[in-house]
């Protein structure tokens, strides 16, 4: 039981700030004392809806007048480094929404400043604290799949969702200016679900991005393959498929396990216990029993009022605040923050290299042929059209 209370400020009152404020409100010993945004109307709407006493447009004033113990940064990533440095210099602990910084060099700088100031920093790897993920981790540790060999991680991204539509409609949107574009803002989620098991600092990376929507002038799909010494991983970022998955499948020497974070389901595949035709009956029977168990568990959780999309975020905040109050370690270590950020950097470089090669090839074909051969397949034609848009945009 926590006896002390913690004072919390938040900078950046956009969409994700709502999720933070909702989850902070669920922690009884956490007091959100102020919100801050350069745009006073955004600060006001957040303060009014979440009953936050302080609203500011100047960070220094917020720190001086409300003295928060910790400040959440939910601003666009380009501002994370300078704001985090400012907060750490003022002696404030910092929670940074993902992505941590624009690149790994900036991440190292912020973490060095935190060490020097003796303050904690945490990054939003919240899905690692989700109840379904915690159960998945427990089962893997208990040997449910044997030794992990490969992790496949999927993120479905709704381009027609509240944030996606903003990025598509606004040519000046900050997300479009990131080195990793649309992916840099969200890809850490499926990535850290892989790096939890793939522990190498510098795995081999093959990656490519592309678009399937001709009217959108930036890549919307990404595929990546990561190879570590013991474990490999594949990452799918898909924005044209429905439903929008948040899935991870872990393959091991004795079976595999799939965790669906949206539905809060865990499904396992194990080695057949019976030979030949009998196994064809036994396997679906096992799946029926597993589905029945999942149904009962979810029903019980619903009855308890225990389903919240951002449960992982709440648990992570709780652990972070507890570490601040009791002098512990941040729930996400500095080493992990740098490792994931550096892998993202290398993934985007790999995509850029593939992009350059593809565009060079297209230009080459343009000079040697009067036209690019048309493909018969409708899907390829669509990809081709999107590809042309991307090549025209690239230098």
């Amino acid at each position: 039981m926590i006896e002390k209370r913690i004072k919390i400020g938040l900078v950046g009152c956009g969409q994700i700030a709502d999720a933070h404020l909702q989850q902070i409100r669920r922690i009884p010993w956490a007091d959100p004392v102020a919100v801050c945004d350069l745009e006073p109307l955004l600060a006001r709407q957040a303060a009014e809806r979440f009953e936050i006493p302080g609203q500011f447009t100047d960070l220094d004033q917020m720190i001086e007048q409300t003295r928060p113990d910790v400040v959440h940064l939910t601003t666009p990533v380009g501002s994370h480094r300078p704001l985090a440095l400012q907060l750490l210099a003022a002696g404030v602990h910092v929670y940074v929404e993902k992505p941590f910084t624009v690149d790994a060099d900036e991440a190292r700088e912020v973490l060095a400043a935190a060490r020097q100031a003796g303050r904690l920093v945490c990054l939003g790897h919240d899905q690692l604290f989700d109840p379904a993920w915690l159960e998945c981790r427990r089962r893997v540790a208990a040997g449910a799949v044997g030794d992990v060999q490969h992790v496949e991680s999927v993120l479905g991204y709704p381009l027609d969702g509240p944030f996606g539509t903003q990025v598509v409609a606004n040519v000046d949107h900050w997300v479009r200016r990131l080195p990793g574009g649309l992916f840099q803002n969200t890809i850490s989620h499926p990535l850290y679900r892989i790096t939890e098991f793939l522990r190498d600092d510098e795995p081999e990376i093959q990656a490519a991005w592309f678009s399937r929507v001709p009217r959108i002038p930036f890549p919307t799909e990404l595929r990546a393959h990561l190879a570590g010494e013991q474990v490999t991983g594949s990452l799918l970022f898909m924005s044209t498929t429905k439903p929008c998955h948040r899935l991870t499948r872990i393959y091991g020497t004795d079976g595999s396990l799939e965790v669906n974070l949206t539905s809060q389901l865990i499904r396992t595949d194990q080695i057949d216990r019976y030979p030949g035709a009998i196994a064809r009956i036994e396997v679906p029977w096992r799946q029926v029993r597993e589905a029945s168990r999942n149904f009962r568990q979810n029903l019980l959780r619903f009855w308890r009022g225990d389903f919240h999309y951002f449960d992982g975020l709440k648990e992570m905040f709780r652990q972070f605040y507890q570490a601040i109050l009791e002098g512990g370690e941040s729930p996400v270590s500095g080493e992990e923050i740098v490792r994931v950020t550096a892998i993202m950097d290398r993934m985007f470089h790999a995509c850029q290299r593939e992009d350059d090669k593809r565009c060079d090839g297209r230009r080459q074909r343009r000079t040697t042929h009067s036209h690019i051969p048309e493909t018969e397949n409708a899907f390829e034609k669509r990809c081709d059209a999107a590809d042309e848009v991307l090549c025209e945009k690239s230098p």
Partner: protein
């Protein structure tokens, strides 16, 4: 009715021209001979707009892409304009996006309009901005009723419209920008259908009908577009607010009956008027108890604003704008329900 200015002699800026109401306003303005510049978002479907208003009218129309949250874009948009019709607004999304795309964009556009000495700014607001929860049942809702002072307790869209009006009046007063506000009721018509939140909530394949005997403050989209056009050209109405609702408003039950008569199937679960508050209380209690496992969509505050039995007045619009809903509701229903039937 006051005298009107000749639209043919004016340069007009219209935002939201690709929207449901905006397209009809554009058609009205162009039919009166106005030269209309349409501000459209990058990536908007211009072809659909061109098809809607037809090739002849399209010649009088100019389209300019821009972001209404960008002051430089807004300055370019309002250059040389006499009247600005601001119909663009975000209809859905999270609260911060709604504030960004409805409130901040309005502030930016009005600032540019004030700099450019625009002679009138017409803001399309919403009938939802009234704090009607404070009115007694069956009383008249007209322009003298106060705007909700606790908009943050309402749904995000209504909150953004309340903030939008607050900011609009502030800018108009600070910069002496002549402002006219139009507050339409529920706009319906072809493409949008007749079912709306004022009648009930859609849950899966069912409609949860809330009450059913209260009048629905409808306005047919063509009638509403006519009123909006007039708000920009009628003289001597600066600083006025106009509620736009049609005559002979139907009840929720009548609307559902018409909907079914057109051959459409609809599964309805009726919530009696007296039980709406209980449902709201339960939703609030459950949401609080489970830390929002199911959010408090229904609250006492919201249901009182949305489903109270009220009478709606359009007298001021008739008197000062010289407006009449020329398409009767029967005809409007027929056209709407015939569309896509």
């Amino acid at each position: 009715m006051n005298s009107t200015t000749d639209i043919a002699a004016m340069q007009v800026l219209l935002t939201g021209a690709t929207g449901f109401l905006g397209r009809r306003v554009l058609r009205e303005l162009v039919d009166e001979g106005g030269a209309v510049r349409c501000a459209v978002r990058t990536g908007s479907d211009i072809n659909r707009l061109r098809d809607f208003i037809g090739a002849r009218r399209w010649n009088q129309t100019e389209t300019v892409s821009g972001q209404l949250t960008n002051l430089d874009h807004c300055r370019a948009l309002v250059t040389g304009c006499d009247v600005v019709y601001h119909a663009a607004a975000a209809l859905s999304g999270c609260p911060s996006n709604l504030v960004m795309n409805s409130v901040i964009s309005t502030r930016t556009l009005m600032t540019a309009a004030a700099e450019a000495d625009v002679s009138r700014f017409v803001l399309i607001s919403s009938l939802g901005v009234y704090g009607s929860q404070k009115l007694a049942s069956h009383s008249v809702l007209d322009e003298t009723c106060p705007v909700d002072t606790a908009g943050f307790l309402r749904d995000p869209y209504t909150y953004s419209k309340i903030l939008q009006e607050e900011v609009a009046w502030q800018i108009a007063n600070e910069h002496q920008l002549p402002l006219v506000v139009v507050r339409p009721g529920v706009i319906f018509g072809e493409e949008r259908g007749v079912l709306c939140h004022r009648i009930g909530l859609s849950i899966g394949h069912h409609l949860l009908r809330m009450g059913g005997s209260q009048r629905v403050p409808f306005t047919y989209v063509d009638n509403c577009a006519d009123a909006v056009k007039r708000a920009g050209i009628v003289a001597g109405i600066d600083g006025e607010v106009f509620n736009i609702v049609d005559d002979d408003l139907p009840t929720g039950r009548q609307v559902i009956r018409e909907h079914r008569k057109s051959g459409r199937k609809l599964k309805v679960i009726g919530i009696p008027q007296f039980a709406i508050n209980w449902l709201a209380d339960f939703n609030e209690y459950y949401s609080r108890k489970t830390e929002q496992q199911i959010p408090a969509v229904l609250t006492r505050y919201r249901v009182q604003a949305m489903w109270k039995s009220l009478r709606y007045s359009n007298d001021l619009a008739k008197q000062k704008l010289g407006w009449r809903p020329t398409t009767t509701l029967d005809e409007a229903f027929e056209r709407t329900l015939a569309f896509d039937a």
